[in-house]
């Protein structure tokens, strides 16, 4: 009988580069930057790592395919390296692989790293070209990520009969809040606070998403070393430890894209993955028990519907929670995107899942300065949404302090 991942794996150390337009660094530099931080935090030697999971989504314009770029960049001594890719859940997939390897007893100490070098394309947005396969090229719409996610807004407006102006207002708050948080974070890509007026007046990217409703396209890397609770306790004696409470993913069944039951104003995979994660972590009432969240705010409308899909806000009720400041850093609710989120911390695809885990890990260990600290958190949740609302993979991770 399967018993899930709860409390079987502890995080020994983590690293995360400064995200941004890293004209100074290639993917290999980013790997080294994140890795050195991580080793130092873990307090172990490179040679103690037994197996690695490596996540990168666009290796064609970055470090190249396979696990080899990781092993050869870090001069790992002929270690097993598995390259994983699952769209925007890639970083979390790398983490998941490392955690499962430890939990299975196959290895004692594993390493997961995610990296993306996006700013060598020559233009804004993600690299052109379909990532959905050639049938989609021939049959699909001439779509981009903002346009595909923008669909949520018109469907949401129609379903709940909420005027677009009201949705725009809530989206502006989502973006404003992340800019407030990102401005305090030295690792974040976008570090300038903006006003809601600036957000609302910005040029349209894909109706109704304006420029500030879209996250940054960034370069960056993040990584983690995981091990068994016993080894973690022996290395970090008398220190607080962060444990993995749940690791769940859900992939679209095709129903959202082709069948007529889905309302288009929600993301079915998020709801499924979250439900499984809460069960795995033993969480009954997420709105009361989750202390903080890092969710996939690739676009502000995504963050809005995600609050409902995660069962934090009631259906049709996210706008009220958002405008009431429930997700603000010091709003008295569940702080969300405390580090700036994809919006301001940035979104190097393969690194994002591990970047979110990095933030939750450090918050759980109460390592950040007071101004951006979440007080005494118990459970932190991360959420990645890869693909499009109608065809995607979602990862939900729950971490907790001590077991």
């Amino acid at each position: 009988m399967a018993s899930g991942i709860r409390d079987k794996v502890a995080i020994l150390g983590m690293g995360c580069t400064r995200f941004g337009e890293r004209w100074d660094a290639g993917g290999e530099d980013l790997i080294v930057e994140a890795f050195t931080q991580c080793l130092e935090d873990a307090g172990i030697d490179k040679n103690e790592i037994q197996a690695c999971w490596f996540g990168t989504y666009y290796p064609e314009i970055g470090v190249g395919k396979s696990g080899i770029p990781l092993s050869s960049t870090l001069k790992l001594p002929f270690l097993p390296v598995t390259r994983v890719e699952n769209k925007c859940a890639t970083g979390t997939e790398a983490f998941r692989g490392a955690c499962y390897a430890v939990a299975s007893g196959a290895y004692d100490i594993c390493f997961a790293l995610g990296v993306e070098k996006l700013k060598d394309t020559g233009y804004g947005g993600l690299p052109a070209g379909s990532t959905e396969g050639e049938i989609d090229v021939m049959l699909g719409a001439n779509k981009t990520a903002p346009g595909a996610f923008a669909q949520l807004a018109s469907a949401y407006s129609a379903k709940y009969k909420i005027p677009m102006e009201r949705i725009k207002e809530a989206m502006a708050h989502v973006s404003w809040k992340s800019h407030q948080n990102g401005a305090m974070n030295p690792r974040a890509h976008l570090r300038r606070a903006v006003t809601k007026e600036q957000i609302l007046k910005a040029p349209m990217v894909a109706y109704p998403l304006g420029l500030f409703d879209c996250c940054g396209v960034s370069d960056g890397a993040a990584c983690a070393i995981v091990t068994t609770p016993e080894i973690a306790k022996s290395i970090k004696r008398n220190e607080d430890l962060v444990f993995v409470k749940a690791l769940q993913i859900a992939c679209s069944s095709g129903e959202e894209a082709l069948f007529t039951a889905w309302d288009g104003a929600s993301v079915l995979t998020t709801t499924r993955a979250a439900k499984r994660a809460y069960d795995e972590a033993g969480i009954q009432d997420p709105r009361r028990e989750i202390s903080m969240m890092e969710v996939h705010d690739c676009f502000s409308i995504t963050e809005l519907v995600t609050m409902e899909d995660l069962q934090i806000s009631p259906r049709g009720g996210a706008i009220e929670d958002i405008l009431n400041g429930f997700f603000d850093l010091k709003g008295g609710g569940i702080p969300c995107q405390v580090d700036g989120g994809l919006k301001c911390f940035g979104h190097p695809i393969g690194a994002s899942g591990l970047r979110m885990i990095f933030e939750v890990y450090n918050q759980l260990l109460q390592r950040w300065p007071e101004e951006r600290l979440v007080k005494n958190p118990r459970y932190g949740l991360t959420h990645n949404l890869g693909g499009f609302p109608h065809q995607n993979v979602v990862a939900v991770t729950i971490l907790g302090i001590n077991s």
């Binding site: 394309t121 020559g122 233009y123 804004g124 947005g125 690299p127 052109a128 070209g129 050639e134 049938i135 090229v137 021939m138 049959l139 699909g140 719409a141 001439n142 779509k143 981009t144 903002p146 346009g147 595909a148 923008a150 669909q151 949520l152 807004a153 018109s154 469907a155 407006s157 129609a158 040029p203 349209m204 990217v205 894909a206 109706y207 109704p208 998403l209 069944s253 095709g254 129903e255 894209a257 082709l258 069948f259 007529t260 039951a261 288009g264 109608h390």
Partner: protein
């Protein structure tokens, strides 16, 4: 009785004001002042002669299983090798045991295709032939041809059951009169002196064909209620009307003020226009022009009421929207260089083996329907998408191309690379079931709303200027 069972013409949505053209280019060629009247129809950025031919044929509500031949006539075919008629037949979802052919090389190619179809049915070789004619000709900026040329298409379904216009006879004249020509070395044509074209061309060739035809069948001009002939010059039309002795009510408007000269399509567009207003018993004489002339005689039957109900040409004439500014037209037709951005450089080749496997889905908008639970789905699936069913390999073909739908969600995307930003697309729920994320066309973002009825249209999805490949597919437009 052999003749036309159904006729339809298609005029694209956009109209370019000739005054606007003159304002932009009149400084170069002030003589075009006299032509700067009315509007010309221009294909949308995602239309060409092939897609317009499909649009005109869809207006005819052709029974795709019945047709056993398809002829396509145009001087602006996107492919020189790869049969364009075959693209159209696949788009229409016709059977594969049919005969298809491209007719080209002259502006009379449309009437030649029509006569070939009529004579084939007379001979008993086929019983239902789709004849489509379409043109989307380019002209150099500031010239007279830019004023004349319009884009459009027309289709006639030729058969022997329940015809709306009976085929009574024809006469053809072929001469190598080179008033204008176009070679593969340039997208633009070259014409000789106008005065010579009018005096030695239209003024001689049309009367010669007309008189030969009348003599062949021992008829008089008064026997015809309408005489349609192709000549874009307004002054020459006035001269010819007088010279031929046409009475006011026999003259058919050339549609220059509203459409322009649609080349190969023009005689069939004019025919559709006449038929939409015809009465049973009317005799119609159709004359094309181009390296000679074809003359075709029809007599309208009692079944004409069927066409008058739908009046597709009249509807598309009324649905016109002005294209503004003029520069948009130049970019859409690739007449001037423009900055498309680095993102637009991404350009993988069409994978033809995949296109072949999925030809019915890509070109015909044919999905699948589960025979167990009845769920329509696109693209065609092996495993039924209905979560309550999940049947494997129990699918049948299901065409979405003739189904209307409703907008479920939409956006106008300024990031997507396109010459018509923003790229508008969204999820469409089809009547009878099925949902597809599709590009929208012939619409404006500010008039879209969830629940809006839309209809599928065959369009250019992408043009690869490096390899010269036009890639087709289906979009939706507002009903």
């Amino acid at each position: 009785m052999v003749g036309i069972c159904m006729a339809g013409a298609y005029v694209p949505r956009y109209r370019l004001s000739r005054e606007k053209i003159f304002q932009a280019m009149g400084w170069l060629n002030p003589a075009t002042r006299s032509l700067a009247r009315g509007q010309k129809a221009v294909a949308n950025y995602d239309e060409d002669s092939v897609t317009m031919a499909v649009s005109a044929t869809m207006e005819c509500r052709v029974e795709k299983e019945k047709a056993d031949c398809l002829y396509f006539a145009s001087t602006t075919m996107p492919y020189q090798e790869r049969q364009n008629a075959g693209i159209i037949a696949t788009a229409l979802g016709m059977r594969e045991d049919v005969r298809t052919a491209d007719f080209t090389g002259s502006l009379k190619a449309g009437t030649t295709a029509l006569i070939s179809a009529l004579e084939t049915v007379v001979a008993g070789g086929c019983s239902s032939i789709v004849v489509c004619a379409s043109d989307c000709r380019l002209a150099k900026m500031g010239g007279q041809e830019e004023m004349f040329f319009g884009d459009g298409s027309a289709t006639a379904i030729v058969g022997k059951d329940d015809v709306i216009a009976e085929y009574k006879g024809s006469f053809s004249l072929s001469v190598d009169f080179v008033d204008r020509f176009r070679t593969p070395s340039s997208p633009f044509g070259r014409a000789w002196e106008d005065r010579w074209i009018r005096d030695a061309g239209y003024d001689k060739i049309i009367p010669r064909a007309l008189n030969s035809f009348l003599k062949k069948y021992d008829l008089k001009l008064e026997d015809f209620s309408k005489v349609l002939y192709c000549c874009p010059y307004p002054s020459e039309r006035r001269k010819l009307n007088k010279k031929l002795g046409l009475k006011e009510d026999q003259i058919q408007n050339f549609l220059m003020e509203r459409v322009g000269d649609t080349g190969v399509a023009q005689p069939l567009v004019m025919l559709a226009s006449v038929l939409e207003n015809a009465r049973a018993g009317d005799n119609i004489l159709l004359l094309s022009y181009g390296n000679g002339c074809d003359a075709i005689w029809f007599e309208v039957t009692d079944s004409i009421g069927r066409l008058k109900e739908s009046r597709p040409l009249e509807k598309s004439l009324d649905a016109g929207v002005e294209l503004d500014p003029y520069e948009k037209y130049l970019v859409w037709r690739d007449v001037v260089p423009f900055e498309a951005g680095l993102r637009a450089e991404h350009n993988p080749p069409v994978r033809w083996s995949l296109v072949w496997r999925l030809r019915r889905a890509i070109l015909g908008f044919c999905g699948s329907r589960c025979t167990r639970c009845g769920t329509p789905q696109f693209p065609p699936q092996r495993v039924c998408v209905n979560p309550a069913c999940g049947a494997i390999d129990e699918m049948e073909d299901y065409y979405f191309s003739d189904k209307e739908g409703k907008v479920a969600s939409f956006t106008g995307d300024n990031l997507a690379a396109t010459v018509n930003p923003p790229q508008i697309y969204g999820h469409v729920l089809f009547e009878g079931g099925g949902k597809v994320l599709m590009d929208f066309t012939d619409c404006n973002l500010d008039t879209l709303h969830v629940g809006m009825p839309v209809t599928p249209v065959f369009r250019v999805k992408d043009y690869d200027r490096v390899r010269g490949t036009t890639r087709y597919g289906w979009k939706v437009k507002p009903v």
